[in-house]
């Protein structure tokens, strides 16, 4: 068990107001480093460095 990941995940779940079982929290914590690595790769993608996000806001509802 990655204790740092477990601590971060527990804090994020608590901040979101979620109450998973200990086993569920452990599963999320086990997967968390992998997701973080995938996210880090997205921040390191050269073609996205100066890209505009695909977010659209329209001035009318």
């Amino acid at each position: 068990m990655n204790t740092e990941a477990a601590t971060v995940v527990a804090a994020l779940l608590a901040a979101a107001g979620l109450s998973p079982t200990p086993e569920e929290a452990a599963r999320l914590a086990a997967a968390y480093p992998g997701w973080q690595a995938e996210l880090a790769a997205l921040y390191d993608m050269p073609d996205a460095r100066y890209e505009t996000p695909a977010l659209v806001f329209r001035p009318e509802p």
Binding site: L13, A16, P20, L28, L39, M45, A48, A54
Partner: protein
Amino acid sequence: MYLTIADAGAALRAGETTSVDLVRAALAVADARDAALGVHLARFDDAALAAAARADAELAAGADRGPLHGIPMGIKDLIAAAEGETTAQSLVLDREWGRERDAPAVARLRAAGAVITGKTTTMEFGIGAPDPAKPFPVPRNPWSTAHYPGGSSSGSAAGVAAGMFLGGLGTDSAGSVRYPAALCGVTGLKPTFGRVPKNGCVPLGPSYDHVGPLARTAEDCAAILTAVAGHDARDTASSDRPAGDYRGALTGSLAGLRIGVDPLLGKARERAGELDSVLVKAVAELRAAGASAVPIRLPYYRELTTVTRLGMAAEAFAYHRNDLRRRWSDYGAGTRLALAKGALLSAADFVQLQRVRRAGQRALAELFTEVDLIVTPTASCGAPRIEHLGTDDMADAALTAYWNAVGNPVLSVPIGFTRDGLPLGMQIAGRPFEEAAVLAAGHAYQQRTGWHRRVPDLVRDLLAA
């Protein structure tokens, strides 16, 4: 029994059958096999038979609404239909949501003459994995009831394969039309994002969600798409580009088309031993229909797949946060964990996903200057066994999520079987809003092959009647 919408429509117009007969035959299959397959969450037998009788009366009076006139169809239970409540296969969804109204896609099917026979099983809210502890059927694959039919449009795909209806609607946020289509040996289309309005559908990841058809053939999917495509101002993502007559674009020839082929090697932990030879044969058929084929690599495959999996979770979490706080245990075990993933992303992460999507779209658009269509496997292996179900395993085997990050149209067609008799599928992707080209390629392939007409042993005797 007629296997395709086109065959049934021809028989209707030739006076060889009636819509009432088609609906009765479909309901009879459901009576006999739904307990084994878990296709339906609700059936509308009386309403369907009444609608079929009206369809027959209209045809007799010379009023023909087109290819879907009198055709029995099933609707994934994330999509509202006036006959009954929408559950999203969940204890959590407010049963007043969508009550007594049609989603625009369903209303358009109905206007085109389709007969809605029932609501079909899904993964809860379109995500996670079936939870046998909840009071809903666990859908099973018509080719082997020990196996899963794929999700999340499980019932619509399995129901088409089993002959419980001739076409269906599903939703696709990471492959939920294409993956079950492949695993059940039927044809399914994720249209371009915004091509089919998705208001009236329970959202999952609103910028990843698509409504799309499932049927035995590309031709039938084209008929359904022609009925449901088009702008609806109530859906802010809906495109106002004119929709076309997709069925009319099916020529059977692919002369002059350039097809890029990426087998997506190494993109999943498991790979069926038969997949590569089956895919090579499928591409050979596309060549025989007039296309040229060249090897390509999809740009940013890992990155865009990550975008869909994490971005969809983030968007879904916004919708489910308060219910997860109050009713955690009412969600299925797989669903609540998949949704909770969305709580672990930062706002900056979410924006970065959107930057990667744009970069991915640009890279893909560049690739589409060199090829007209892109072919890949739909899934790396056949259907997983029910007892091995797990969100990560399913997500890993489905080679579909990439396309939800970019929005292009993608068709899945059946191309063969594993040695265990489980179907395999091929994706055919095109440029945005070029559904006609994608469907034409699928149709040309199916003109030369018979995989889409294979019938599972479980229903062979019923469909032969």
